[in-house]
Symmetry: C2
Subunit: 112 residues, 2 copies
């Protein structure tokens, strides 16, 4: 999910940039799961229910380009790739925790 036109198109809005960078069905789950340190694509595939390999790669790639994740490819066989949070990504986790707390406030009402 690249940076597209949203509310404002002339000036760069930091909030817009931020929201764009985490707008993707599996991006927040990815950040949420990686917290332990490193994770391989295959681990994400097993951990995050029904993510497709194709889509996972897309989102990982975008997050890497956005500076949220770091990718390390080992020259081994079978191939090994590890993703970890950058400093920026770790700061995001802090905000996600707050969003998580905020989300708790919505649950009683949405529990239908």
């Amino acid at each position: 999910m690249k940076t597209k036109e949203r509310s404002s198109e002339n000036k760069i809005c930091p909030l817009e940039v931020a929201v764009n960078s985490i707008s993707g069905k599996w991006k927040v789950p990815i950040v949420w799961q990686i917290n332990e340190g490193k994770k391989r694509p295959s681990e994400f595939l097993r951990g995050i229910a029904k993510v497709d390999r194709r889509v996972l790669n897309q989102q990982l790639k975008e997050m890497e380009q956005d500076g949220i994740l770091t990718k390390v490819s080992f020259n081994e066989l079978p191939p090994r790739v590890e993703y970890s949070l950058t400093e920026l990504g770790e700061k995001l986790v802090t905000i996600l925790w707050m969003l998580n707390d905020w989300g708790k406030l919505m649950i009683p009402a949405e529990e239908d």
Copy 2:
């Protein structure tokens, strides 16, 4: 954007609920603009660039159902409707400010 299946489908994840409730192209801009107090749909239309009336209504409706916005309809002619943030919505603004700060960290790199 209703609550759909994301990472986990059995247990309710507050973060998932939170993210779902603000996943919508104009939802964050709406919250971001309403901070002053109240806003009429027509004001959003003029304020947020190219939002379409139809889409705006959809997102306002969902946010009202999610408890983020409060809608007040006045029985006047021409009709008047005002949206304002609920307590929950105001708490969201706090988090959006942090996301905004976080987004600033991404801008130098993305300024191509």
